[in-house]
C-alpha cells in the first residue's frame, strides 16, 4: 500500500512534467506546424524590416506587420547568461575549494549555511538591488552609456547563481575520499597542490554538474533580467547595451497578448525553446559526466 502510494506520487511528478510540455507544445503548435502567420523562417531568418532597407532581425511583436525574430532574444539570453557564468563560476568554485579544503572546521560550519542562505534571497529583491544600486555603480565604474545593460543583469544574476554552484560543488569536493588527500600530501604536495591537482579533478563530475545547474538556473531566471537588463531587443554583441532575454519577454508580454494569436503562440514557442535548451544541456552534461566517470572508474 505504502509502496503503491509512493509509486503513484513519483509517477504523478513525471506526469506533471509531461503535461506541462504537452500544454506548452499545444499552444505553440501553429509555429511548429508552420501553418500560422509565423513559422521557423520568420523566427530565425532575416526578414524585411522597412522598404529600402536590407532584411534583418527584429523583435517587434505588436504593430501593423509584427516582427518576430528570435535572434535578438536568443542573443540577449546568451549574453546575460554568459556574463553571469563567467563571474559566478570562478567565485563559487573558489569559495567551494576554500570551504572544503582550507577553512578550519568552525569557519566551514559558518560559511556553508551563510552562502546557501544567499540562495533564498527572492530574485525580485536581487533585481531591485541591481536596479537601484548595481546599475549606478556599473555605469560610473565602467563608463557605460546606459544604466541597465546585459552586464548589470549578468552581474546580478551571478549573485543568484553563486550559491547554487557553490553548494553542489562543495558537496562534490567534500565527498572526495580523505585517502586521496593523504596520498597527495604524503608525496610532498602542498595543501594547495592537493586541492588543485587531486581533489578538484577527482570531484570533476560533481563540479561540472554544479556548473550545469547554475547555467540552467541562469537561462530560466526571469525577474532579475526583467528588472535589470533594460529589455531592449537589440541585435548587439556589446555587453553594455540594453538587452532583452527570452524569459523576460514571456514575463513582460504574456499579460497583454491577444489570446490564441500568433504572438501568443510565439511566446509559448519561446517557453518551449527554453525547455529544450535546458533539457539539451542536462543531456550533454549527463553524457559528459558518464564519460568522465567511466574514464576515472576504469570499468571501460
Amino acid at each position: 500500500m505504502i509502496a503503491l502510494t509512493i509509486q503513484a506520487v513519483g509517477l504523478s511528478g513525471i506526469a506533471a512534467v509531461l503535461l506541462i510540455v504537452i500544454f506548452v507544445g499545444r499552444e505553440a503548435l501553429p509555429i511548429l506546424r508552420g501553418d500560422g502567420e509565423a513559422g521557423f523562417d520568420t523566427l530565425f531568418l532575416p526578414q524585411p524590416l522597412r522598404p529600402g532597407k536590407p532584411p534583418g532581425f527584429m523583435w517587434q511583436p505588436v504593430g501593423e506587420v509584427p516582427k518576430l525574430s528570435m535572434i535578438p532574444l536568443l542573443l540577449g539570453t546568451l549574453k546575460v547568461t554568459l556574463v553571469a557564468m563567467v563571474v559566478a563560476v570562478p567565485v563559487a568554485l573558489a569559495a567551494a575549494l576554500f570551504t572544503s579544503e582550507f577553512a578550519p572546521r568552525r569557519l566551514r560550519e559558518l560559511l556553508k549555511p551563510v552562502i546557501e542562505l544567499l540562495a533564498s534571497i527572492p530574485s525580485v529583491v536581487l533585481g531591485f538591488f541591481a536596479l537601484m544600486t548595481l546599475a549606478g555603480w556599473a555605469q560610473s565604474t565602467f563608463g557605460l552609456p546606459s544604466r541597465l545593460s546585459a552586464l548589470v543583469a549578468g552581474l546580478a544574476m551571478a549573485i543568484a547563481i553563486v550559491p547554487v554552484v557553490f553548494t553542489v560543488a562543495e558537496d562534490a569536493l567534500t565527498a572526495v575520499p580523505r585517502s586521496y588527500r593523504e596520498a597527495s600530501l604524503a608525496l610532498g604536495a602542498t595543501p594547495w597542490e592537493t586541492a588543485w591537482r587531486v581533489v578538484l579533478p577527482a570531484a570533476a563530475p560533481g563540479v561540472f554538474a554544479a556548473c550545469v545547474l547554475g547555467f540552467g538556473r541562469a537561462i530560466g531566471e526571469t525577474m532579475i533580467v526583467l528588472m535589470a537588463s533594460g529589455n531592449a531587443a537589440i541585435v548587439s554583441l556589446s555587453l553594455s547595451d540594453s538587452t532583452r532575454t527570452m524569459s523576460a519577454t514571456i514575463a513582460a508580454e504574456m499579460g497583454e497578448v491577444v489570446f490564441g494569436g500568433t504572438h501568443w503562440s510565439v511566446l509559448f514557442f519561446i517557453g518551449l525553446q527554453l525547455f529544450a535548451l535546458t533539457l539539451a544541456l542536462n543531456w550533454v552534461a549527463g553524457a559528459f559526466v558518464r564519460r568522465t566517470l567511466r574514464r576515472l572508474g576504469g570499468t571501460a
Binding site: E182, L187, G188, T190, R197, L296, G298
Partner: protein, 253 residues
C-alpha cells in the same frame, strides 16, 4: 648496528585529545633495513608510523612531545619544511589509494609536484619506478588506462611505485598487504627484500609471519608503549619479555 641510525626517536609521546596513543618511546631505525612494527590493534603502531612523516599534523587534536631525528635533524623543528620532509619520508597506506588518474599520471604525480617538466626524464623515471615496484610487465601496455582498472594487489604496488618515484630515503608502510590476497601479499613481500638495498623501510603489520619473513628488526608495541625491539630472528625465537613471547606465539593479540 654500528652505523649511525637513519631515524632516532627520543621520548616520543603522542596524544589524541585526552587519550595517549604513544608513550615515551625511544627507538633507533637503522639505514637500509626493514623494521617491522607489530602489536595488537590500537597499540599505537600506526600513530607512531605517521609521526615519522608528520601525517599526524593533519589530525585535529593530536599533540606530540619528544623528538624524531632524521639524519640527526629534528623533523618537527622550525626550519624543517613539512613538504620537504614528506618527499624524504614516503608513505604507503593500508588501503591502496591510487588517484583517479591514469597509471602513468599516478606515478608521475610526485615528480610533477616536485617540478620535473622534462617529458623524457619523466617517462624514464615512471618506468623505473614501476620496475622497482615489480609492476612494469603487467602495465607497460596500458599506462594511459585508469589506475582504478587495476586489481587490488596491482593498485597497492602502483601506490608503492608512486611513493618510490620521488626517491624517498625512508618508506613507511602501514599494513600494505592487509587487504590483499596471498599471491599479491607474496609479491609485495618479495618486493621489500629488493627495496631495502636502496631504502630504509618501516612496516606496520598484523601478520607475525610477514614480520618474520620481511624484516631485519622487529619492534613490539603494546598499549602505546614499546615493549621490546631487536633483531627479528632474536625477537621471535628468544624474546626477552614475557608479553612479547605471548604475543608472537599467539597467546593473545
Amino acid at each position: 648496528m654500528s652505523a649511525q641510525p637513519k631515524v632516532k626517536v627520543r621520548r616520543l609521546s603522542i596524544h589524541y585529545r585526552d587519550k595517549t596513543a604513544v608513550k615515551n618511546l625511544d627507538l633507533d631505525i637503522a639505514e637500509r633495513q626493514v623494521l617491522a612494527l607489530i602489536g595488537p590493534s590500537g597499540c599505537g603502531k600506526s600513530t607512531f608510523l605517521r609521526a615519522l612523516n608528520r601525517m599526524n599534523d593533519l589530525i585535529p587534536g593530536a599533540r606530540q612531545e619528544g623528538e624524531v631525528l632524521l639524519d640527526g635533524q629534528d623533523i618537527n623543528g622550525r626550519e624543517i619544511d613539512v613538504v620537504d620532509l614528506r618527499r624524504r619520508v614516503g608513505m604507503v597506506f593500508q588501503k591502496s589509494n591510487p588517484f583517479p588518474k591514469s597509471i602513468f599520471e599516478n606515478v608521475a604525480f610526485g615528480l610533477r609536484i616536485a617540478g620535473l617538466r622534462d617529458k623524457a626524464e619523466l617517462t624514464a623515471r615512471v618506468e623505473a619506478s614501476l620496475h622497482h615496484a615489480a609492476l612494469w610487465d603487467e602495465v607497460k601496455d596500458r599506462l594511459a588506462e585508469s589506475a582504478l582498472s587495476l586489481s587490488g594487489g596491482q593498485q597497492q604496488r602502483l601506490c608503492i611505485a608512486r611513493a618510490l618515484a620521488i626517491e624517498p630515503e625512508v618508506v613507511l608502510m602501514d599494513e600494505p598487504a592487509s587487504a590483499l590476497d596471498p599471491l599479491s601479499t607474496a609479491k609485495i613481500e618479495e618486493l621489500m627484500h629488493e627495496l631495502k638495498s636502496r631504502y630504509t623501510i618501516v612496516i606496520v603489520t598484523h601478520n607475525m609471519q610477514q614480520a618474520a619473513r620481511v624484516s631485519d628488526q622487529t619492534a613490539f608495541f603494546y598499549m602505546g608503549e614499546l615493549i621490546e625491539v631487536g633483531s627479528t630472528a632474536h625477537l621471535f625465537t628468544n624474546p626477552g619479555v614475557k608479553r612479547t613471547e605471548d604475543y608472537v606465539t599467539g597467546k593473545f593479540g
